[in-house]
């Protein structure tokens, strides 16, 4: 193996079973065969079995960060468990060079009746640290967890956020060569999430490699250089992280882009109101989903309504996970919509949009006059818009700005 490669996965496959009873039965059978040394065909799928991982191959080099994306059940966590050596492969081979630190579920093995401090020793040992190592790092760990007096209270008194804080603090300080992170940052508060992200970057700067699973594309984008898109246990695409994220968004909204007509029929609110048409234009009136920073966005849509509605509110928003949410509500802007029927066309012009580059999913809604009860609300099938830019920027917005550098009098 190339000395630069820290993880090499070749033709990896893993079967799981959907039925618990069968799973136990197959398990006993396999164990008996293992014990007696009877060979059997591992590739054959028995009843209720499926490929959780199917011929997965990739490489991770020193200092690289790989983001694994894919919908729930696409095999991401299973892949991480195999790399971590928790399950054996059914086929293929994994080669790992160096100490693995896994953040699959932080705080694993915490004992509720023991104090945070005692649990640091316990958990650190489970993660492969020696007592001496823990003695040296305990100060840092406690400082990073930042849970104050609670460190000497039993872990059962902790909030879930505090448990994650302590668990992450221990794992990140176990000085791994390879860090496996599985969507754990979703729990802590914003402050702590940021702290974790910067700590992860710090660990990377010291030469560690990372595999990162997340549904937050923003975090993937921040950390990762490479990406791996999975679907039904197979690798759909492996390459540069920005390509992978684009592909992931396409996958998530593929229906709405490819089969606009069919989708329209599916946008059905509980009241039987559906979206008749939904289009996004640029300032020149050309239909598009791609914009640059500072462009105008024009959204135009209408509803299928049998009975005209009175006193309604409409809204339009663009969102990127929980981080950026930019929405417009007709009533907030003082607009009164007295009557809305089949022929009403709603047009919203948003000028000088200065969102950071990335993909934003769009949602539209039709509400009662108090903006509480919804007649129609859809955030999946309206698709996404993409903001492109050929420059880097910090944060999620770019305001118009200029620099002035002068000399003091």
């Amino acid at each position: 193996m190339d000395s630069d490669v820290v993880i090499k996965v070749e033709g990896l496959s893993k079967k799981f079973c959907r039925s618990l009873k069968r799973s136990l039965f197959y398990g006993s059978l396999d164990i008996a065969r293992n014990m007696l040394g009877i060979p059997y065909d591992k590739n054959r799928l028995r009843l209720a079995e499926f490929m959780a991982l199917d011929n997965v191959s990739f490489e991770l080099r020193k200092g690289e960060a790989l983001g694994i994306v894919g919908q729930n059940g696409s095999g991401k966590t299973t892949l991480l468990r195999l790399i971590n050596g928790i399950f054996p492969p059914d086929n293929g081979k994994i080669t790992v060079r160096g100490r693995i630190g896994a953040l699959i579920a932080v705080g694993a093995g915490f004992h509720p009746n023991m104090t945070g401090r005692q649990n640091i020793y316990l958990n650190g040992t489970i993660l492969g640290m020696s007592r001496k190592e823990i003695d040296e790092k305990i100060g840092e760990i406690i400082a990073f967890a930042d849970i104050g007096q609670f460190i000497d209270s039993p872990v059962s008194t902790y909030s879930s956020g505090m448990t994650v804080r302590l668990g992450f603090a221990i794992a990140i300080h176990s000085s791994p060569d390879i860090l496996l992170i599985d969507e754990i940052l979703a729990v802590g508060d914003m402050n702590f999430q940021n702290k974790c992200m910067s700590k992860i970057a710090d660990v990377m700067a010291h030469g560690a490699s990372i595999i990162f699973i997340s549904h937050q594309m923003l975090n993937i984008q921040k950390i990762c250089t490479k990406g791996l898109l999975m679907e039904h246990g197979k690798v759909v695409k492996y390459g540069d992280v920005s390509q992978i994220i684009d592909e992931y968004y396409k996958q998530n909204s593929s229906g709405s882009i490819l089969k606009e007509e069919e989708k329209k029929k599916e946008i059905v609110g509980s009241t039987g109101i559906t979206c008749k048409s939904f289009k996004i234009f640029d300032s020149k009136g050309k239909e598009t989903r791609g914009f640059g920073i500072g462009d105008d966005i024009v959204a135009e849509w209408s509803f299928n309504i049998t009975e005209p509605l009175e006193d309604v509110v409409v809204h339009f928003s663009m969102a990127d996970g929980p981080y950026t949410y930019n929405g417009y509500v007709s009533s907030y802007d003082g607009l009164k919509i007295k009557r809305l029927d089949d022929k009403t066309i709603i047009r919203l012009i948003i000028r000088n949009v200065r969102l950071a580059p990335g993909n934003y999913s769009v949602s539209i809604g039709l509400w009662d006059k108090n903006f509480i009860g919804s007649y129609f609300w859809d955030y999946e099938s309206t698709g996404i818009i993409t903001i492109n830019a050929n420059k880097r920027l910090q944060g999620r917005f770019e305001f118009e700005h200029q620099w002035e550098i002068g000399v003091a009098e």
């Binding site: 136990l24 928790i86 060079r97 699959i104 579920a105 694993a108 004992h111 009746n113 316990l122």
Partner: protein
């Protein structure tokens, strides 16, 4: 380490995960790998032991006292039946309560070796899915816990024996070596159950019932000489008669009736343990998959 292929190259440790690596290892190699793993995870074993041993008692008022209360109350029914004449245990040589207390303590030790080992994989359930570490450490920790509980109760029971004016033989110093076969037998059965029990839940229950009943076929609550007929044959062929009863005899009387049978039973126990140990080695990964 861990029974996966490990190559040392340029200072970095390289681990390779492939299907059925463990099955390809020879019988004796696998025993060696596991023993090495236990030695190298001393720190983990200690931490887990402290966690479970202290945590169990932390939430109860009586704490460690339970370790003693259990066995003492456990013999009450036997002593009561003996006192009312319902139970005729034969000539036991020492006061009956002392005899049955000592016997059930060793019986309890055997059962606790079995029960603790049967919980081997469950003991790590909280983090077995998250972290890779040698699971043999769990077995070692479970055995330590069984021994620690025994030690506490045994010290108190020795004091009780003195009340009955039963002075244990000096051969009591051989105890650590004498209980080894008991450990191998209990842990051998337990480890088997721990592995197979995850996929075949009923086996654990059946085994619990079966072993629980064995106390009647072992001279624990009666003297070995009191058994007659075909019952006596079962008692004679029961390895626990020697492994548990024999040890009790050494402590109580300073002699063992049938040291040769004890030796055979010990050999049997050891072989059983080695086979179980191997089964655990080749199948634990498959079993863990089913623990989700």
């Amino acid at each position: 380490m861990f029974g996966s292929k490990v190559k040392k190259s340029s200072g970095d440790q390289v681990v390779v995960y492939e299907p059925d690596v463990r099955t390809k290892d020879g019988f004796f190699r696998s025993l060696g790998v596991m023993a090495t793993n236990i030695v190298s995870s001393r720190e983990l074993i200690w931490q887990l032991f402290v966690r479970d041993f202290t945590a169990v008692h932390r939430k109860s008022f009586l704490g460690m006292a339970w370790v003693v209360i259990g066995p003492v109350f456990g013999i009450l029914s036997w002593v009561f039946m003996n006192a009312t004449g319902v139970l005729n245990p034969g000539d036991v040589g020492i006061p009956y309560p002392a005899y049955v207390l000592l016997g059930t303590t060793f019986w309890g030790l055997f059962m606790s070796f079995y029960q603790m080992s049967a919980e081997t994989l469950n003991a790590g359930a909280g983090f077995i899915m998250q972290v890779r570490y040698p699971h043999e450490a769990l077995l070692a920790k479970q055995i330590m816990q069984a021994l620690a509980n025994f030690l506490v109760s045994f010290l108190v029971i020795l004091a009780v024996l003195l009340v009955f004016r039963v002075i244990p033989s000096w051969k009591i110093v051989l105890l650590p070596a004498m209980i080894l076969p008991m450990l191998f037998l209990g842990a051998g059965i337990g480890l088997f159950i721990s592995t197979v029990g995850v996929v075949a839940v009923e086996i654990r229950k059946i085994c619990d019932l079966f072993l629980g009943m064995l106390i009647f076929f072992t001279p624990i609550i009666y003297a070995g000489s009191a058994a007659g007929g075909s019952f006596a044959a079962i008692v004679r062929w029961n390895p626990l008669t020697y492994l548990v009863g024999g040890v009790r005899d050494v402590v109580a009387y300073g002699r063992m009736d049938n040291p040769i049978a004890y030796g055979w039973a010990a050999l049997l126990a050891f072989i059983l343990f080695a086979v179980s140990w191997r089964l655990f080695y080749v199948s634990e990964e498959k079993v863990i998959e089913k623990m989700i």
